[in-house]
Symmetry: C2
Subunit: 316 residues, 2 copies
């Protein structure tokens, strides 16, 4: 019944970090790592690897930088087959700061890139591959970038990169399942010897449905987060994905405990999920930043005004 | 771009009534009717038509009974092209209490039925059709009833009923888009001269995605509720559906105002939406009644125990 090739990547701490400046404390991150490990999830992405010359550790939490020593404090003493992943953005990491994989607790480095930056992304990913890491390129905001440039980027990635997985990323939560089908098929056609992955956003409550759609069309690397935490509306809820996949290696129960004990209290402190301004941004195919700003203002529930402001001006 | 045949039915008050004993006050229901009318929604389902001999008006609000005079108090003085619908359950209405359509503010009567009760449903629907109403049969809990009996029921409905629309109802929020595709195609093949409709439940955040799937496979009658209100996890959010459909007759703005002004405050008083025990019931293909009971108990956040109780005993 299940597809053995499917790998699930939990990015709770990484994408969730986008709503709290990556400032989860070590106790919390260990709880997450333990539950993710017990649940049999293949990868856990713990944060971004950013240069401390570009971002100040005074302003951001540990998981904006993901020092190897900090990661070891999380994983030490916890029995786990879960591999650790970190994300890097084009232009925000000093390559020489990254040790060879053999000396690091990190197994996978995912390079987030817009279509236009694909040359840089390939260069970076190949650098990390040469250092022994599994690598991916995650094409962000793909709903805004479906022209011929996308095909060109995919061809380049296929021919020039050493990555293991090419990810389609619906950063704006704007894709419907027909678009997901089209994009996955398009990538599948060009990307010959690498896996395809999908990372959804939940602005229109479609992250899980779109992930299923991606599975149907042969994406094998799937992202989820505990209780759907993540920027703006958040991501595909990991618990739903585990409930759907039939692979007996997964166990939903540690995730359920984690939600009961950690995420229900956390949700009272920081906000994500189905919130109308994010839905509006999704249906308009726009970055959620204006909606995120609205949610911090006194007009947080003035949906019509927000809708009309996007209609009239756009966000870009 | 859009499909002219598509009709949207708002069942905010009817399905939402399942979480508050149908006890919305007249002011609130008028606000909803006004917004639904301004938004250009085709139908608004206002409640159930139940016999007062079976249910006491002391225990339930107005919308458990939907007296014509009460409906008129809602619609009077509001400019509207929206037709009024009511739902009836097999065996819970006295047919002779229902006036001819020409003397009623109601345009459509929807008969909710399990597969096993289809003979009774056809009898009732034909009775209402003869009285001049548009009619539908809504096959509930279809995720539990996909055997040959379903085909038999569909054949009977096709041959013996006078209904306008046959609805597929995912009462348990258990369908994935592949199942929706299969069920809609199966119904479409048997039901020749009637429209197909879809009513989703949101236990696994799939109500909207499944509704899109139904549209893709030619369902033309689509249910939604404002802010997704409805039993347990609720329904397909009407605002997302309107955002997706391209028909220029729809206007999302009155719905946005309604959510800001009425549904954000209401949500603080009564509960619906993405809540883990409902997700568990959905993935287990079970009625949400045990999950609803859990949410009223002191163990409302004990998800693992709830999951294991269903695993070990089932709910039926």
């Amino acid at each position: 019944m299940y597809r053995d090739k499917i790998k699930v990547l939990d990015c709770t701490i990484r994408d969730g970090g986008l709503i709290n400046n990556h400032d989860f404390d070590r106790r919390f991150v260990r709880k997450v790592f333990k539950a993710i490990s017990e649940a049999g999830i293949d990868y856990m992405e713990i944060g971004y690897k950013n240069s401390k010359e570009l971002f100040s550790p005074k302003e951001y939490g540990l998981w904006k930088f993901c020092d190897d020593e900090e990661i070891k404090k999380i994983t030490d003493g916890i029995k786990s087959k879960t591999k650790i992943s970190v994300m890097v953005d084009v232009g925000r990491v000093k390559l020489e700061d990254v040790k060879p994989a053999s000396k690091s607790p990190v197994s996978m480095i995912r390079v987030a890139s817009y279509v236009k930056d694909v040359d840089k992304a390939i260069y970076m990913a190949n650098h990390f591959a040469d250092k022994g890491y599994e690598t991916t390129i995650n094409i962000m905001a793909i709903s805004k970038d479906q022209g011929v440039e996308l095909d060109e980027a995919l061809h380049q990635i296929n021919e020039e990169s050493k990555i293991n997985v090419l990810y389609i990323v619906d950063s704006f939560g704007a894709l419907y399942q027909e678009t997901v089908e089209d994009l996955i098929k398009r990538a599948r056609k060009i990307i010959k010897s690498k896996e395809i992955g999908f990372h959804g956003h939940n602005h229109q409550q479609l992250a899980f449905g779109n992930t299923i759609e991606a599975i149907i069309h042969d994406a094998n690397y799937l992202d989820g987060t505990v209780y759907g935490i993540g920027r703006a509306a958040g991501n595909c809820p990991l618990e739903l994905l585990i409930g759907f996949l039939k692979n007996p290696k997964f166990d939903i129960r540690p995730i359920l405990d984690l939600i009961s004990n950690e995420f229900i209290p956390l949700r009272k402190k920081i906000e994500w999920g189905y919130i109308i301004p994010y839905a509006i941004a999704g249906m308009m195919n726009e970055h959620p930043r204006a909606a995120m700003a609205l949610r911090k203002s006194s007009k947080k529930e003035d949906y019509r005004e927000f809708y009309e402001s996007i209609l009239n001006t756009g966000l870009d």
